[in-house]
Symmetry: D2
Subunit: 401 residues, 4 copies
């Protein structure tokens, strides 16, 4: 029994959890198995090897943890830092805010760098903090690659450059929850020490896996980090890695098979093609927003996110009503505005396993909803703008025959 039903498909455009490809749903459609048989370790070995590719790392060590993104955050922090440690962290929206809240609750001393919601992390302040910190009291710079609440992408290469400019040894911890597998992410090149994502985002799986990747420097830090941790302790994983049985506690058999299938699809399409597809759909979405005469919550092009677009509605409209109506009338799931931007923005997630016509159906739906709630949109305008771009830029995609 489902708890809702509308004819036809649900159009899932929240920025997570996202659409699961059918081959992945099929791969997970199975009974449990003994995870101590020879089969599961054999598969796990391939998963750990292949997961590194989505982080673009060869030296990192991945941990596939039965948890959510929030748990992955905690794993990243508690394994590398000690209570009282100073971190620099940036509030640019609800998820970066929640991560900082976690950092504070874990007892770190957080230098909170605030920006307007709709701007990227203020890296000038980072630079000045690092410049001042000749004593290296800053133990970690924590940053969200892509803020899911506002659709803002931070420039990680620049963060690395600033760290390098000041030869600062702080750990570089990155939340890649709504970026990894959708936006180009280069762990090794950017010297990221811990990167993490969640299965229900661009990997296009169900929720349930927090995937964390640690650089050798992070692994080294974990040996002295004093934060309390048991469930999230990397040590337990490393012990079972060396035993060749891999799992300190029971993994989800279904998610392992799902991850295997998801990675296979990503590699078959080609990671760079996946990024290009996200760029294409992101651009098309922004062109539609522009055509509707609405503002992108993200204030500058340099921060535009190719995985989620937060659309600012006029003051006389409650963006939550747009989301409600989309669901009830068109079986369309859009993202709510959160916290500071609640009621002010709605969000279109365009990440994960998605194609042009799915997005165009969503955009057409948004147009009708806008009209429903009294915004004087010209019907078809956003779709026209998106089509004009997509028709020129979409490659031939269907393959295998």
């Amino acid at each position: 029994m489902d708890y809702y039903y509308g004819p036809g498909r649900n159009h899932l455009f929240v920025p997570g959890p996202v659409n699961i490809p059918d081959p992945v749903i099929r791969a997970m459609n199975r009974n449990n198995e003994d995870y101590r048989s020879p089969a599961i370790p054999a598969m796990t070995k391939t998963l750990l090897e292949d997961v590194k590719k989505i982080f673009k790392t060869t030296s990192g060590i991945p941990f596939i943890i039965p948890t959510t993104g929030t748990g992955a955050w905690e794993s990243a922090l508690t394994n590398t830092l000690s209570p009282g440690d100073r971190t620099v962290s940036f509030v640019i929206g609800q998820f970066s805010l929640l991560w900082i809240d976690q950092q504070q609750r874990l007892g770190f001393n957080v230098d909170v760098v605030e920006s307007d919601w709709g701007q990227g992390a203020n890296l000038d302040i980072l630079a000045s903090k690092l410049a001042e910190d000749t004593a290296h009291t800053i133990k970690a710079v924590c940053i969200v690659h892509n803020e899911t609440a506002t659709g803002v992408t931070n420039n990680l290469a620049k963060v690395r450059k600033i760290l390098d400019d000041y030869s600062h040894p702080a750990l570089f911890l990155v939340d890649g929850v709504s970026s990894i597998c959708a936006l180009d992410f280069r762990m090794d090149e950017w010297g990221v020490d811990v990167a993490l994502t969640g299965s229900q985002k661009a990997l296009s799986l169900p929720t349930g896996m927090g995937i964390v990747c640690a650089s050798p420097k992070a692994i080294e830090a974990s040996k002295t980090a004093k934060s309390f941790r048991v469930f999230f302790d990397w040590k337990d994983y490393l012990k079972f890695y060396s035993l060749g049985t891999f799992w300190p506690y029971t993994p989800s058999i279904q998610l392992l098979y799902g991850l295997r299938a998801a990675l296979d699809l990503l590699f078959e399409e080609g990671l760079e093609n996946v990024f290009a597809r996200h760029a294409r759909l992101g651009k098309a979405t922004r062109l539609a927003v522009e055509a509707w005469g609405l503002k992108n919550c993200t204030q500058k092009e340099e921060w535009f996110s190719d995985t989620v677009t937060a659309v600012v509605v006029p003051p006389y409209i409650d963006s939550a009503e747009i989301v409600r109506r989309g669901w009830k009338r068109y079986n369309l799931s859009l993202g709510l505005g959160l916290n500071k931007v609640a009621g002010k923005v709605f969000r279109i997630g365009h990440l994960g396993n998605l194609n042009e016509l799915q997005l165009l159906g969503c955009l057409a739906g948004v147009e009708m909803i806008l009209k429903d709630v009294g915004y004087p949109v010209k019907l078809g305008s956003g779709v026209a703008a998106a089509c004009a771009y997509l028709q020129n830029n979409t490659p031939l995609i269907v393959s295998r025959v």
Copy 2:
């Protein structure tokens, strides 16, 4: 292993097989069972009772046959007619043509009434034939409710009226393959003697069930009909109905559960709402075609089909290229033009479990393909026209909470 893969969903807009609702896919995701256990007859009883509702009959007897629409045709004909029998049948497109071909191969003497492909059945000729046939040599009038190749819907109430006007006792046999469960169909009211459909059409199941419903008069006719038949013989079904075990040979367990789920969804939505949804999506499609400046293959509004629209392309375009390109570039499946209209039309199926945004995604795709192949379409125009209509006419659909 699939034999093709493109990122995101396939957009399935051929006029059959159509999209299967997820709850139905779930219901069929199962092992085989003993069909002679008490469970399967118990379920079958509900199916036979409920299937009558989709034909709008109380006196008809349904047969759920493990076959396709072609087999259902053969079941309808061979059980009610004898070799040499005279039938009147109408060619208005490829499927009505194939049915006539079958009638001829089965040895009937067919009065073939031809119309332009794009017109409905010529009922004036029917009237004159019946008028002349005072000896009642015509044993059956065979008509396709909805011609899937051209998107033409015939007026069955009018056929009945003509039969009544001449008090003609001919059997009234109807192919409802692409109409039943999508267009209003009234077996009892229209005095239809045999009606039939296939599971992969508006029932939104996989292929594999030919569902035939026979009036008491048709059952009576079957007692003397001399056409050879064994697999398709209703007698075997009737025998097992009276035994309470229902199946003369092994049914597909999966399709039985699927049919149960499909009927449940149809009744939850409400058959009249289902028809209204098809009318809405059909109208939206036709408005888009008009906005593109293209012609509907169907020549008059009275014949417009709410389940499939055949779109005529300009002579300098090969419609097959539109279909090919849709599949390769946008993961969109459109219907080819068949036989006389091959290369000249492509078809948009808008039947089965489908909603507004799915259709709008398809229409946006068609616009881009039209541009791809050199037709000077104004991008967004069709979607705009469809949206303008849909935004005013779509009810709140998502329910259960």
Copy 3:
């Protein structure tokens, strides 16, 4: 909603439909697709090629028909014979009886050769009939390879030998419904002209595919055979084979993917290993029956079937009660006795995707049911006998790592 529920798995031991392997269930867990896209013909080509392997033919032409075994029978007969044609056919149980009934209803002149139910086909009578038939009035010898109702396997090599001994040109038509993919079947070597099976038997799929394979001689015969046929006409298939689109009417997308997966599993295990596994499980079952002190319905070892065992119960027990009780008490599905042996035998199907412990669970269940219904079985005796054999004869089976 299921129509029954017991905790744990259903133990499916009817001789069809049989257990579907999980990878096959997964492969079929999918939406519909356009069968006219490039993907489906590409897959179909591999299916037609690979299906020949299960018949052990290189020269035969297979037809994958959306029907059941009964339909496959009709396809075999109507494509090769004409009304009035003389056939020789053998009654050895309910299914051979039904096939003869079909032959008679199709208008053939059938020489019915009867045997006790529990014996194989009387091939001496065949020999004498062929000897007498110097005028070659016998057009076909029709025989069931494995009679599912009694668990009797006929010797097809011997049939061929008799045909050859008399240089008789009659067509050799074989029902391999409960044998092909389980028992060794050699179409080319045995000169079989039409062989057929159903998807729900040893192929371990849902019901819905009748698979028929025709020798060049049978194809030749089809050009002059005068039986009425339309749906079952090979001609339509051959036309679409030459077009490269393969399907004269809509196939079940799900069954195509299922067949692909089922064949892959069979070839991975190896057909000869599959036969050996069936031989092993058949032998184990017979040893259990013997240990229980019950009689096999099959009277001689030369006819013992490795796919189904019909067990004779003492006269004071109604075998139908055994089946009923198995289902209600132990979630075990056994086969009923049919027609002449109704109430007298129950059947254990041991064909398809099955292994040792599944069978042993079934045998243990049968022992408890026998006790339930008052038969003085020694609990554990049948399992002990089966185990003693299996423990010595089961190879290491689990692979891939």
Copy 4:
């Protein structure tokens, strides 16, 4: 692609993860959804209400946490205790040992009470500790209801009685991972303060949910407990409960639907019937072990577990070889001996959605493996003993028609 394949089903008899019922697999066979739509909270409300029933509590507050049993432990401990707190905890096998290890790593001061592996918790020592502790320095008594490594069930009613005898206010924390939904568990009656289980055990779901239930006293304790916790903090859940949106971070949509289906099945069967079924299968297993002449690792009947039986092998046999061989030869998954009993015991899990014939198949398999590895078992003996018991004690189970 699976990483192993053997013909027929895998026989899953590890004590977790256990077999998932087909209706639950079906319920989880779905795409993601927006968990902020009205549908998911509506379903969640029913889940939270119904989950209380499996704990037999009306006053407890449940938390459904995206984690494993290990995480559920951590949630129970960190929310109710502070670093330095004194706990009493019992080692009776590997899992109780791991829980104590966690307690120590979390900084508690654990009074470890050891027993032989194969004995229950030494409650006399608990009594004496409580007697001495007039200052109430003991903050919690932590006990595993059922030790999965040895198949030992502790008497929780007795623990409560001892606490009451000494009017000791210590919290009563219970790991019910391999008991809840299989063994009778009475949270309110026994005054349990925190009880927990994991989805992959008797609930018969995939891994991924740690389900924790807190008494009002535990909730009160959580307000002052000083253990570091963020991901596992109940406070976040309570906040979202009061908001009516329920989830502080993304839940697994699939597991929610799976839990709904699993609870529905449990309630349909009836919890007391579920317990009786486990008792029946546990007893049958022990009778088989006895018949084989082998020892149960559990030393006294009062501790016999109805969810898992650890079987002691003779010294000349390596129990790991039994497990390996079961998997490779019979597609049977048994549990390894862990830690102190590695190589000495193998384990048969008989919990979750399981029936008689499944267990009997497993027992027959174990007999053959025992023979394989050189133990002089009498084939059939264990099955005979189990059948003799089951045949007298199994109710009619299959229902709905």
